[in-house]
């Protein structure tokens, strides 16, 4: 009998982690992720999760402890957000360069200054170049499931890349949903014990890790890491199909289309706002508008080829960014725009920026965005939604 519970995003993540049986969890509190690491601590102290729970003294150490633990072949998890992500940022390319299969949940939250604890996607954008696989989830169920899938993806000996799962702060982390919690034995079947990869430290064959490479070798190391990231697309899909077979639900590949096949215009979203946007697409489709949605699930590595398959060459594409790269544009837009150009896309593109610092993005906002994409409303290339004053 499938077990259901009424969980918030943080609790869902905690269950996903518990079911994945990590060896080590290094945890430092930061809003809005705190409840996830608290729940995991409760599991440990109740005896329901056997793992080394490290009470680290900072996020930089949270990532460093994760690096230490993962480097000896232990299944490792940590979680952070916003300022914490920025504090540990040094450790991200450190871990990906060392090809350590760490899994991290990032509860998307705005970046100081000014200070703000509410959800937007500013923080995740800082991690784009770090070499981590980066995923966005739409709801609490996907958050739980992606924990399990991420360990399998990260630890696969062809992938061996750390995975960051982004979950919108407060909007997902703190709101409640009916979530199905898989059975432990099913998860054990799907995600067996980690097998120490040969490049990690071990008794049988001592290794030196996180070495230096001078100007004669460094570029090759880095380009090799870059090229090998491309293997993630296929493995991501493979794992999702296997998950669907085992647990009865799947999520698709790195970008998933919704009503996209004959769409004249498409809105690209990442994270929880996808749900709202889907409702708007349904409403507009009923009114005969040929609109569609592209749910961006994996932003790194970026699915350039998949994007081409999902949109017709001359469709108008809008990108909803819950972030701003000061002095330029939204970062999802930068990524999508470049990919479209590489795909010889000729349709117009628009950047819709909203939701910063916890600002709401309403269905009306999204309808307006589609109005622009359909050509019914004039707008700048880059426009801002739900501002409380004139520009």
């Amino acid at each position: 009998m499938p077990k259901y519970d009424f969980l918030n995003g943080n609790e869902a993540v905690a269950y996903g982690v518990k079911l994945s049986r990590p060896h080590v969890v290094s945890a430092y509190p930061i809003t809005p992720q705190t409840k996830a690491v608290e729940k995991i601590a409760q599991f440990v102290q109740d005896g329901d999760l056997e793992c080394e729970y490290m009470h680290v003294e900072s996020e930089h150490s949270a990532m460093s402890c994760a690096i230490g633990s993962s480097s000896v072949g232990a299944r490792t998890f940590t979680a952070t957000s916003s300022q914490g992500l920025l504090y540990m940022l040094e450790g991200l390319p450190y871990a990906s360069g060392a090809r350590l299969p760490i899994v991290m949940m990032n509860a998307n939250r705005s970046i100081a200054t000014p200070w703000n604890i509410y959800g937007d996607q500013m923080d995740a954008m800082f991690a784009l170049p770090t070499g981590w696989i980066q995923i966005f989830v739409e709801d609490a169920q996907e958050a739980l499931d992606m924990m399990i899938q991420s360990f399998k993806l990260a630890e696969d000996h062809e992938i061996l890349t750390p995975v960051m799962v982004n979950m919108d702060g407060f909007v997902l982390s703190h709101t409640y949903e009916k979530v199905q919690i898989p059975e432990q034995k099913d998860v054990d079947d799907f995600l067996p014990e980690i097998v120490t990869a040969p490049h990690l430290m071990q008794d049988e064959n001592p290794m030196s890790m996180c070495i230096s490479a001078g100007n004669k070798h460094n570029m090759e190391f880095k380009i090799k890491q870059h090229k090998e990231m491309e293997k993630a697309f296929e493995k991501f899909e493979e794992i999702d199909l296997e998950f669907e077979k085992k647990f009865g639900r799947g999520y698709g590949s790195a970008i998933v289309g919704y009503c996209h096949e004959d769409a004249e215009c498409l809105l690209v979203t990442a994270g929880s706002v996808t749900g709202t946007a889907k409702n708007v697409v349904d409403k507009l489709r009923k009114a005969g508008k040929k609109v569609g949605l592209l749910k961006l699930r994996m932003i790194r590595p970026f699915p350039i080829k998949l994007l081409k398959e999902l949109c017709s060459n001359n469709s108008t594409i809008g990108v909803l960014d819950k972030n701003i790269s000061f002095g330029y544009e939204g970062s999802l837009f930068t990524n999508i725009n470049s990919a479209l150009k590489q795909n010889n896309h000729i349709g117009e593109t628009y950047n819709f920026i909203g939701g910063i610092g916890g600002r709401d993005i309403t269905p009306e906002n999204i309808e307006e965005m589609f109005d622009v994409l359909l050509g019914n409303k004039k707008a700048e290339k880059i426009s801002f939604y739900n501002m409380r004053c004139e520009l």
Binding site: H23, V24, S26, C51, E52, M54, H55, V56, E57, S58, H60, S61, S64, C65, A66, I67, G68, S69, S70, S71, V72, G73, A74, T76, E90, G91, Y94, M201, Q202, D203, P206, M207, S208, M209, C210, I211, S212, A213, G214, H217, F221
Partner: protein, 298 residues
């Protein structure tokens, strides 16, 4: 307690070989000797610094042990992470050891060290103190002693060298209530070997702070490394002590201190010292010894 370690009975195997450190490097000697006591089974972590810079240049790997370079600030975090990972995977008697310099311990690394000791799991941390950021070219650190010339506290027209005192890392670590902490010197090698052995036998966190002269940064002949480290102790400027079972213990009390010039003069970083500064150094030393003789177990 095992038989005392000495040159004859330590493991003859070399676990640290072919590194690119300067000739006469005190730090590399400390690492080489510590590893003989710690053994092949130890998993070691080192931050950015001289030791990692000279031992991990692809494809030349100088350590025989499992070894990892850590981010500069987090030697102790990576070390305890390794310990946790090995323990969780069921390894019997895992031994994770962090080696870091003075900068990586007392300045940028102090937060991680503090947290690691607080978590209370077994690990060994050895600070090889050469009293400045040597790998980047001899800049002042929190453990640069009063009067020393460094490139960021140069001997200028107005201010002659470093005007700050050394942080007392030994006592800072002891204040955490650590299981075992000790100071050591490359001038008293057997003492150092036995302290590493003691750390190995303790169940919780251990910390060893070893004075490791740097001929390049201190400005002395490469053959004088061990002698100068010995003089540091014999002049009373470096204290050999231990912290165990919540108590401080003095290991060596020189009957009479050698004149401090014997330690300071052969080093270029001190050649500018005026009589006044020498007086101040003597006073700092004497004040600390008064405190030690009154409070520590002698």
């Amino acid at each position: 307690m095992m038989n005392k370690l000495n040159a004859r009975n330590i493991d003859t195997q070399e676990l640290f070989y072919g590194h690119k450190a300067c000739g006469g490097c005190g730090e590399s000697l400390a690492l080489r000797l510590a590893l003989k006591v710690l053994g092949e089974e130890a998993y070691i972590a080192l931050p950015a610094g001289c030791m990692s810079a000279v031992s991990f240049i692809y494809p030349n790997m100088a350590f025989k042990n499992n070894a990892i370079i850590t981010p500069f600030a987090s030697t102790a975090a990576v070390t305890t992470g390794m310990q946790a990972g090995l323990k969780a995977k069921g390894k019997k008697n895992p031994l994770a050891v962090g080696f870091a310099g003075d900068g990586g311990t007392a300045d940028i690394g102090i937060q991680a060290l503090s947290g690691a000791i607080d978590r209370g799991e077994k690990f060994i941390y050895i600070c090889t103190d050469n009293e400045a950021y040597m790998n980047t070219g001899i800049q002042k650190s929190g453990l640069t002693p009063y009067g020393s010339h460094t490139t960021t506290t140069p001997v200028g027209k107005k201010i002659k060298g470093n005007m700050h005192k050394k942080k007392n890392m030994f006592e800072i670590v002891a204040a955490h209530g650590i299981e075992y902490a000790a100071t050591a010197s490359m001038g008293y090698i057997e003492d150092f070997l036995n302290k590493v052995q003691k750390a190995k036998e303790h169940d919780g966190p251990s910390y060893i702070h070893v004075l490791a002269p740097c001929p390049t940064g201190w400005g002395h002949g490469t053959e004088l490394t061990v002698e100068i480290a010995k003089n540091a102790v014999d002049t009373g400027l470096w204290v050999l002590g231990e912290y165990e079972d919540g108590k401080f213990k003095l290991n060596k009390k020189p009957k009479e201190f050698k004149p401090i010039e014997e330690y300071l003069k052969p080093q270029n970083r001190f050649k500018h010292l005026t009589n006044e500064m020498l007086g101040e150094i003597t006073e700092i030393r004497d004040q600390y010894w008064d405190y030690i003789l009154e409070n520590w177990e002698v």
